[in-house]
Amino acid sequence: MEAALAPRRTTVPAAAETSVLTLTVAGQLCGVPVLGVRDILGSQAITPIPLAPAEVAGGLNLRGRIVTAVDLRRRLGLPAREAGGPLPMSVVVEGGGELYALLADSVGDVLALPEAGLASNPPTLDPLWREVCAGVHQDVPDSSGAAGARLLIMLDVERILDIG
């Protein structure tokens, strides 16, 4: 898994670059630092947990470990996934010694992004988002490699997991 997550475009990120795993949540491009990612899973059987916070999608079995799944759509206050659509993927991250799975609509590439391109959250950003975003990357190349095409929201994993 680790090997697969190595940045594709540049083998070793330069000092001023961060490796970011991109993921899409309701059409929004987001990123998490790749070093914090422990695993990426396809769609999984998730057991709902009654009475849990709404953001918690349930528990899933990761090779014998129970991982709590957090639905990023719900966490970010986005509309729920349509029924019958493609199933979410899980990005497994660690928080406070426990593993959590972040449910995203799709998982993209690992990009090496220049730290210089990271802007702080615009003050007009939704307060909920401001709380869980660690900034916005501007010059994000799209799949064809053309720079500056997209904006990427960096997610603060610790804040994302600060639920309840």
Binding site: P50, A52, G58, G59, L60, I163
Partner: protein, 899 residues
């Protein structure tokens, strides 16, 4: 070496390891009350324990240290760096003395007056000038003998090598060697401690900059000390193995591949043994934690001039080692408290009309998935008025608040930090440490503590701690389309909801054997069922899981019940901790994640477990007595419908007979079996001879050489379960239906089937004995009664049955007489012991032999029942043992008496 001292050394060194870090933390944050509290408690514990072990030197040092810490704790003295150094030196001195103790088995002699004087000075308010202190201590700069700072002393080579490689200790060891036989380096802020007996090898005082490491070596038992993490991971592996085994077994059952079955059986066997073994490494009888108490109580009674008797019950109740370790100190504290505060002096007791000797009672037992430990005394009780006054004085509550509180709530103030009712601070206890420490420790392991106290009568503390076992057996249920696990240990029985469910306004209740059982709908509780409830519909189709929490019974309504599975309890993620309805989660054999319900949480959430609702004594809770009886049940199939069950203990043999051996006689099937004709009774209607070449499965019941065979279709399994038979079924041949392995199973009434065969086949052959001995069977459970009566009857006794002790005594009043009485111990109303006493006290039966029938055959129970008047003690279900006991006691009584 004395076990007690070895224990003390092991524990204290563990505590001290944490203490160094705490002290250093204290130096950085001198005003952190929690750290001060932690240090204070440890020193307090050391002091207390030393007092009873007769370690005077250690006690004096710890006492002086505690005094200073006490002032730090209540804020009347500011923590200074010099003060911390001084305490560190106390810790070092304690270590030193302990090292000597470990080496020689007794305290090394030495002079601690300097450090004590210094401590007393600080206690009195003098400022501990570090430099001055250094100068003052410089006087006894003696030689530090060669010591291994890794904490181990070479004591006759009997110290065991610790398991863990002490990589971390290596640098310390190195510097220690360099320093060997030199005075402590000047760079060390504290001077090295001194010892005046060079004979005793003593470790060098570890400078605070490189703390700890001094722990591993202490403890000289011939056992390995294994890191709990190692056990923990072993346990996890075994748990996974068990789950895999279960899956394999399921597969092989479906395949019916005989080549696979053999090795799989062996694997299964080995896995079970492995599981048991690993479990055993974690389980210890609570008696281990009590070992030191008799001596402690003896010393206590001498020290306080009180007469104290210690009574311990349930010492063989086993609990997880970790839990045991955590509960040991609190228990010691509590016993000491009982002796010191609880019990009055002899004079006072005489005045109050009590026996001079006070009693301290310890009792441990399992209850609803928990272990309850009671520590009680028959002393003066908790003075409500004094506590009230003190609570006001300490600002813990206002007078108004107190006015609204019940007596018990006020008494509970003693669990508050810093609260003590002892009038004087004695060296035994009473600094306000005590009950709050106990409470903290108990809560740390997820337990609760409560008290029952009546002024003038005594105080009993109830500690309830969970049985944190890694593997538990759980019932898998479904509600609102989701599956959940309910730990089996809290489940008393399963009842089909049916029409028994009624509503009082909106609250569902179930009438269960004259009791009104409050019901909780799981899907509604977990908000799984949002659709408008069609009243009663869900309840009617589902099952009720009858659950016991403490003294309270309630039912959880579920939609379906699957089976029981062994599950590995894993804690829930921290973000879910506030959901109190679950005690954990687990992965089932099929790989799916499932939540484990916490019956306590459910009870709390629904108010079922509200205190004081149903505070009955445990002996009156009828259900507990029978629910504990787990027995092996043989499951088989016969005719249509679900599986049937018969207690395995009643079945003599299982036979698979070729069709050719079955003959017909008088239109009924018989086989020639062991040189006699055995009648075959088909259990299902419409039985036909198996086709030629086919085979017939037969359960053979054998009574004193006469046999009867029950023809069944297929033998399914043998399971061990607690049997709860749903009453109200009148089908002949069946006692009723029970849920076994998650399936409704009809339980066979053996007596009835025996009669089916007996009427035709046994009657004429019965040996005509001159006079059959009359036996009275006293047993509350109809099921056991139904089993015992035919079994004894078949053995040639004339049997009368009574359902309770009271009923039995009524027979006595009615003038009945018996040659022997066989009685259960645990029964409602009048239990077996009470009945035995009543019988022995006089009346026409006072010489009738009494045989106890019980599942508890440990020494203490046997002794108790002997004291009550039972002659013999037979485990339930051991028919041969019972017959043997009956015959031998009839022989002894009839011989001289000439009945």
């Amino acid at each position: 070496m004395d076990d007690l001292i070895a224990d003390f050394l092991t524990e204290t060194s563990e505590g001290l390891a944490g203490l160094d870090a705490a002290l250093l933390r204290l130096e950085r944050h001198p005003d952190d009350p929690r750290t001060i509290g932690e240090i204070f408690r440890l020193i307090h514990t050391i002091k207390g324990t030393c007092g009873f072990l007769g370690l005077g030197r250690l006690e004096r040092v710890a006492h002086a240290g505690e005094n200073v810490l006490g002032r730090y704790r209540d804020g009347s003295l500011t923590v200074t760096s010099g003060g911390v150094s001084l305490i560190l030196r106390v810790v070092d001195r304690v270590r030193e003395i302990m090292a000597g103790l470990e080496a020689s088995g007794s305290e090394p002699s030495g002079d601690d007056s300097a450090i004590i004087a210094e401590l007393d000075a600080v206690f009195a308010g003098e400022i501990p000038a570090e430099d001055a202190a250094r100068a003052a201590e410089a006087v006894p700069q003696a030689v530090v003998p060669a010591a291994k700072p890794a904490g181990r002393t070479k004591s006759g080579g009997k110290a065991a090598e610790p398991l863990g490689a002490e990589a971390a200790a290596a640098p310390a060891e190195k510097s220690g060697r360099d320093r060997r036989a030199k005075p402590a380096p000047a760079a060390t802020p504290e001077p090295a401690a001194t010892v005046e007996t060079p004979a005793a090898p003593v470790q060098a005082a570890a400078p605070p900059a490189e703390p700890i490491q001094a722990t591993e070596g202490v403890g000289v038992a011939q056992t390995l000390r294994v890191n709990v993490d190692v056990l923990e991971s072993l346990m996890t592996l075994v748990s996974e193995l068990v789950l895999t085994r279960n899956q394999l077994l399921q597969l092989s059952r479906a395949r019916n591949d005989s080549a696979l079955t053999g090795p799989l059986q062996r694997l299964s066997h080995i896995t079970s043994e492995l599981q048991e073994g690993v479990m055993k490494t974690r389980m210890q009888p609570i008696g281990n934690a009590w070992k030191g108490l008799p001596r402690l109580v003896r010393d206590l009674s001498r020290e306080l001039g009180k007469k104290i008797e210690l009574e311990m019950r349930g010492a063989d109740t086993e609990l997880d080692r970790q839990v045991l370790e955590m509960i040991r100190d609190p228990l010691t504290h509590m016993v000491r408290n009982s002796g010191d505060h609880g019990l009055e002096g002899p004079a006072e007791r005489r005045e109050a009309g009590k026996p001079e000797a006070g009693r301290i009672m310890l009792d441990a037992y399992h209850e609803g998935g928990h272990i309850i430990i009671e520590v009680g005394d028959d002393g003066r009780g908790l003075p409500v008025e004094k506590i009230r006054a003190k609570a006001i004085a300490q600002g813990l509550a206002t007078e108004q608040e107190l006015a609204g509180m019940g007596e018990r709530d006020i008494q509970r103030f003693i669990f508050r930090a810093g609260f003590s009712t002892a009038a004087a601070v004695t060296s035994v206890s009473g600094r306000g440490v005590g009950m709050d420490v106990v409470k903290t420790n108990v809560e740390k392991i997820g337990g609760t503590i409560d008290l029952r106290s009546r002024e003038g009568k005594g105080t009993t503390f109830l500690i309830k701690i969970p049985l944190t076992l890694a593997i538990v057996s759980a019932l898998i249920v479904e509600a609102g389309g989701e599956r959940f696990a309910i730990p089996q240990i809290g489940v008393v029985e399963l009842v089909r909801a049916g029409d028994g469910v009624m509503h009082i306004k909106d609250a569902p209740v179930l009438r269960l054997r004259d009791r009104l059982l409050p019901l909780v709908s799981l899907s509604r509780l977990l908000r799984l069922d949002e659709r408008p409830v069609a009243e009663g519909e869900a309840e009617r189709g589902g099952f009720v899981v009858v659950t016991q929490i403490g003294q309270n019974l309630f039912g959880i309504i579920v939609d379906r019940v699957f089976d029981t599975e062994e599950i590995v309890v894993k804690p829930v993620a921290p973000i879910l901790r506030h959901v109190t309805m679950f005690s954990g989660n687990t992965i089932l054999g099929d790989g799916s994640v499932i939540m484990i319900l916490d019956p306590n949480g459910i009870a709390r959430a629904t108010g079922v477990g509200a205190e004081g609702v149903q505070e009955e004594r445990r002996s009156t809770a009828v259900t507990t007595a029978t629910s504990a009886e787990r027995l092996s049940l043989l499951l088989f199939r016969a005719g249509d419908g679900g599986p049937r069950a018969v207690p395995l203990g009643l079945v003599a043999r299982l036979e698979d007979l070729p069709a050719e051996r079955i003959e017909m006689s008088h239109g009924k099937p018989v086989v020639q079996y062991r040189g006699a004709l055995m009648p075959l009774v088909p259990i299902a209607d419409g039985w036909t001879m198996p086709p030629s070449g086919g085979r017939q499965a037969v359960l053979v019941f054998d009574d004193s050489g006469r046999a009867m065979g029950l023809a069944v279709d297929e033998i399914l399994d043998v399971v061990e379960e607690s049997l709860k038979i749903e009453s109200g079924q009148d089908r002949p041949g069946y006692l009723g239906t029970a849920v076994i392995s998650g399936r409704a199973t009809e339980v066979v009434d053996c007596a009835w089937w025996l009669r089916q065969a007996g009427a035709d086949w046994f009657g004429p052959q019965r040996p005509a004995s001159a006079r059959r001995a009359r036996v009275l069977v006293v047993e509350d459970s109809a099921f056991f009664r139904n089993m015992l009566v035919p079994a004894l009857g078949a053995a040639g006794f004339e049997v009368t049955a009574a359902a309770s002790g009271t009923q039995a005594l009524k027979l006595r009043e009615a003038g009945e007489s018996f040659d022997a009485i066989v009685s259960d111990i645990e029964m409602p109303e009048l239990d077996g012991l009470g009945m035995a006493r009543a019988i022995r006290d006089g009346g026409s039966w006072h010489e009738t032999p009494l045989i106890a029938l019980t599942s508890h055959t440990d020494d203490a129970s046997v002794r108790r029942s002997r004291e009550a008047g039972f002659m013999d003690h037979v485990p339930k279900f051991d028919r041969d043992a019972l017959l043997g006991a009956l015959r031998s006691c009839l022989a002894t009584t009839t011989a001289p008496g000439g009945h």
